[in-house]
C-alpha cells in the first residue's frame, strides 16, 4: 500500500505547514465571513438621491423631510433644478434623482380623502448601475405608498433617457473584470521574483557587476510591460464583447495602468517577505481574492456594509473601478474623478517604493 504511505506523508506535510493549512482553512473561512457580512442580514449601505420639489407644498415637503429622509438606505439631497441634479448623476455623486411634480400634494390629499387620485413621480437614474437603480425604485415605491396610504404601486415615470449613453451589461461589468485581471498581477509578480530568489538566480547575478537597483528595474520593466499587454488585451476583449468607452481611452488606460503598478508593488512586497514560491502564492491569493470581492469586481460596492466599504476604499481597486466605470460609461473627464485618480497615483508610488525598499533588503539577506 505504497500510495497510502504517500498519502499519509503528503497529509502530514500539508498539515504541518502552517501557511498551507491557513490557506486551506483560512481562505474559505474568510470568504464565508465576507459573504456573510455582505449578504447576511441588514446592510448599512446607503444611496445618495436627489429630490427636486416642483410641487412645493407642505405635503411634498413632508414627503421629503419625513418619509424619504427617514429611510436609512437613502441619503436625500435637495436640488433646485434638474440640470444640477443631472450633472451630479453623471459624475456619480447621485444614484438617482426624483422630481416631485406639481399637484403631487393635491393628489395625495385626494387619496387620503378617499377620492380617486393619480400619484406619480419622475425618476431619473443611471442605467449603468442596474442593480442599485432597481433597488432604489423599489424603495421609493414602497415609501410613497406608505406615505400616501395606497395599496397599488405608485406610478414612477422611470427616465433613463437623460443618461447620455446607452449602458450595456458589459459596460458595467467590464471595468470590474479588468481590475480582477490586474489583481491577478499580484501573484504573478510575486512568483516571478520569488522564483528567481529561491532558485539562486538572484544570487548568481549578484556575483556579477550588477546593482540591486538593476534587478528591481529589470523586474519592474518586465512586469510593467506584462501589465500594459494585459490591459490592452483586456480592453480589446471587453470592446470586442461590446463595451463602449464613452470617455477618454487614454484616461481609462491610465487608471488601469496605475492599478497595475499597485499590483506589481504589492507583489514585490509579498516577494520580499516570502522565501519560496510555496509561501508567496497562497499569501497573494489570500490577499487578492477577498480584495476583488470587496472592491466591486463582481457586484456594486454600494451593497457592502460601511465598515467593509471603508476597507475596500483603503485599497486602490475600488477607486479604480469607480473611476474607470465613470469614464467608460459616463464619459467623465479627469476633473470628475480627481480624488480617485490621486489616490491611485499615491498608492502606486508608495507601494512601489515600499516594494523596492523591502525587496532590496531581502536581496541582501
Amino acid at each position: 500500500m505504497k500510495f497510502l504511505e504517500l498519502a499519509k506523508r503528503n497529509f502530514k506535510e500539508t498539515c504541518r505547514d502552517p501557511l498551507a493549512l491557513g490557506f486551506l482553512l483560512g481562505f474559505p473561512l474568510l470568504f464565508m465571513l465576507l459573504f456573510g457580512a455582505i449578504f447576511g442580514g441588514g446592510t448599512s449601505s446607503s444611496y445618495p438621491i436627489g429630490v427636486i420639489d416642483d410641487d412645493n407644498t407642505p405635503l411634498s415637503q413632508a414627503f421629503i423631510d419625513d418619509a424619504l429622509a427617514n429611510v436609512p438606505t437613502l441619503e436625500v439631497a435637495n436640488y433646485d433644478d434638474t440640470a444640477t441634479a443631472l450633472k451630479d448623476l453623471k459624475f456619480g455623486d447621485l444614484r438617482v434623482y426624483i422630481v416631485i411634480p406639481q399637484g403631487f400634494g393635491e393628489q395625495v390629499s385626494q387619496n387620503w380623502e378617499g377620492k380617486a387620485a393619480n400619484i406619480f413621480l419622475q425618476m431619473t437614474y443611471d442605467e449603468s448601475d442596474i442593480m442599485t437603480s432597481e433597488q432604489i425604485i423599489s424603495i421609493i415605491n414602497s415609501v410613497t405608498r406608505s406615505f400616501a396610504h395606497i395599496e397599488i404601486p405608485v406610478t414612477i415615470n422611470a427616465n433613463p433617457i437623460h443618461i447620455e449613453t446607452e449602458i450595456t451589461y458589459i459596460d458595467y461589468m467590464g471595468p470590474g473584470i479588468i481590475i480582477f485581471g490586474l489583481l491577478i498581477l499580484i501573484p504573478t509578480s510575486a512568483r516571478i521574483m520569488v522564483s528567481d530568489k529561491e532558485k539562486g538566480f538572484l544570487s548568481r547575478l549578484l556575483t556579477t557587476p550588477t546593482r540591486p537597483l538593476d534587478f528591481i528595474s529589470g523586474y519592474s520593466l518586465c512586469l510593467v510591460i506584462i501589465a500594459i499587454i494585459q490591459i490592452v488585451i483586456f480592453l480589446a476583449a471587453a470592446c470586442g464583447f461590446g463595451m463602449n468607452i464613452v470617455g477618454s481611452l487614454w484616461l481609462t488606460f491610465l487608471i488601469f495602468f496605475l492599478t497595475g503598478l499597485s499590483s506589481i508593488g504589492i507583489g514585490m512586497v509579498v516577494a520580499s517577505l516570502s522565501k519560496s514560491e510555496n509561501q508567496a502564492e497562497p499569501l497573494c491569493w489570500l490577499f487578492s481574492m477577498p480584495l476583488a470581492m470587496l472592491s466591486g469586481c463582481w457586484f456594486s460596492i454600494d451593497m457592502l456594509p460601511s465598515y467593509l466599504k471603508s476597507i475596500a476604499y483603503a485599497f486602490p481597486y475600488a477607486h479604480s473601478i469607480v473611476a474607470s466605470r465613470s469614464v467608460i460609461t459616463r464619459g467623465v473627464g479627469l476633473e470628475a474623478i480627481t480624488i480617485d485618480f490621486l489616490f491611485l497615483v499615491g498608492w502606486a508610488v508608495v507601494i512601489f517604493a515600499i516594494g523596492v525598499i523591502l525587496f532590496r533588503r531581502s536581496m541582501r539577506s
Binding site: K199, G200, S203, R204, L206, T207, T208, P209
Partner: protein, 320 residues
C-alpha cells in the same frame, strides 16, 4: 608546505590572486567559517575539500562578495571584499553549487545575459560563446531551450556562464555535484584545460576530484582549514611508514635476505614483495633488486588516499 601548518597572515603580495585574513562568518551564533588564512597563487587551482557544512560555500560566498564577513577580510586580485566588491565582481566568474540557469532560454541566450552584464561587445561575445559551446560540446543544442538538457549539459552550461566574460579568477562551487562519472569526467577535462591560465578556487567533497584537479588542497572542517598542501604532501604527511609493492621474478632467498638487511619490513608472497619503511626510494630499491639477481616486472609506492588524510586529520570519514 606540509599539513597541519596554517599559513600565517601575510602582507598583500602580487603573486597571490586570493588572500584571506582571519576570514570569519557567524550565522546566529553558529561559526560557519572560523578565521581562515589562505593564500592562493595566481594561476593556481586550489581545492577546498570538506564535508557538507564544513564552510566551503560560505567561504566562496564571502570571496564573491555575496556575504559580508562577520570579521576579517580577504582580497581578490588585490581588491578588498569589504570595500571593493564591485571591482571584484568585474573580474570573477562564479559557478554556483546549484545549477542556476534560465530554463526557458537557450544556451546562447543564457551566455549573452552574463556576457552583456559584463559589458562584452557583441562581436567578442559571439566568438567566446562559440568557443565555449564547442569546447563544452553544446554546439548542436544551441537553439534548444535549456530545460530539455540533461543534468550534465546543464552543469556544463552553468560553468560556461562563469567563464563567458573571461574572468581572472574562477570560483567553482561543487562543479560536479550529483553527476554521473562520465559527465564528471567531461567537466574535469575542461577544468584541466583552464589550469595555469586562470586562478581557480574549487570546492568539492569528492576526494578524487580534489586529487585529480587541484594544485593544492585545503582540507576544511568545522569552518577551519585543518590541513593545507599538495595532494602528495598531504598524503605523505599522514604516513609514518611507506609501502612499496614489487612484482618480480627470481625472488630467491638470497634476494629476500639482502633486502631484509636493508629495509625494516620485507614480506614476500609468491612473486610479490612488499617493502615497508620510514623512507623509501623507488629507484634505489629497484636497483638493489636487480643487482641481487631479481627481475622487476612492475612496482609502485602505495600512497594513502585523501580519505586516509581526512580521517587522520579530522578523526572522521568524509561524508558525501
Amino acid at each position: 608546505m606540509t599539513s597541519h601548518n596554517i599559513e600565517p597572515v601575510r602582507v598583500k603580495d602580487d603573486t597571490f590572486a586570493i588572500q584571506t585574513y582571519q576570514l570569519t562568518k557567524i550565522f546566529n551564533g553558529v561559526v560557519a567559517v572560523d578565521g581562515i588564512e589562505l593564500n592562493i597563487k595566481k594561476g593556481e587551482l586550489f581545492a577546498l575539500l570538506g564535508p557538507n557544512g564544513a564552510g566551503k560555500t560560505t567561504t566562496i560566498n564571502m570571496l564573491c562578495c555575496l556575504l559580508k564577513p562577520t570579521s576579517g577580510t580577504a582580497t581578490v586580485m588585490g581588491y578588498d571584499i569589504n570595500h571593493q566588491p564591485f571591482k571584484i565582481k568585474e573580474i570573477i566568474g562564479v559557478s554556483p553549487q546549484e545549477t542556476v540557469i534560465s530554463e526557458h532560454l537557450n544556451p546562447q541566450e543564457n551566455l549573452n545575459l552574463i556576457g552583456k552584464i559584463h559589458g562584452i561587445s557583441p562581436g567578442e561575445l559571439k566568438i567566446r560563446s562559440q568557443q565555449l559551446l564547442e569546447t563544452m560540446g553544446l554546439t548542436g543544442r544551441v537553439k534548444d531551450q535549456v530545460r530539455k538538457f540533461s543534468g550534465g549539459m546543464k552543469r556544463r552550461l552553468n560553468i560556461m556562464m562563469a567563464l563567458i566574460h573571461n574572468p581572472e579568477v574562477i570560483f567553482l562551487d561543487e562543479p560536479t555535484l550529483g553527476l554521473d562519472p562520465q559527465a564528471r569526467r567531461a567537466i574535469w577535462e575542461y577544468i584541466i584545460r583552464l589550469k595555469g591560465e586562470k586562478t581557480i578556487l574549487l570546492t568539492t567533497h569528492y576526494m578524487d576530484e580534489a586529487d585529480f584537479l587541484a594544485d593544492r588542497i585545503g582540507i576544511m572542517d568545522n569552518g577551519r582549514i585543518a590541513a593545507l598542501g599538495t595532494s602528495t604532501e598531504l598524503k605523505m604527511s599522514v604516513l609514518e611508514k611507506h609501502a612499496m609493492i614489487i612484482y618480480a621474478w627470481n625472488l630467491t632467498q638470497k634476494v629476500i635476505g639482502e633486502m631484509r638487511s636493508r629495509y625494516a619490513g620485507v614480506e614476500v608472497t609468491g612473486g610479490t614483495m612488499t617493502i615497508t619503511d620510514k623512507r623509501l626510494d623507488f629507484k634505489e630499491i629497484v636497483d638493489h633488486l636487480h643487482s641481487s639477481g631479481a627481475t622487476v616486472r612492475s612496482a609502485y609506492i602505495k600512497e594513502p588516499s585523501l580519505d586516509d588524510v581526512f580521517l587522520h586529520i579530522t578523526g572522521k570519514e568524509l561524508r558525501e
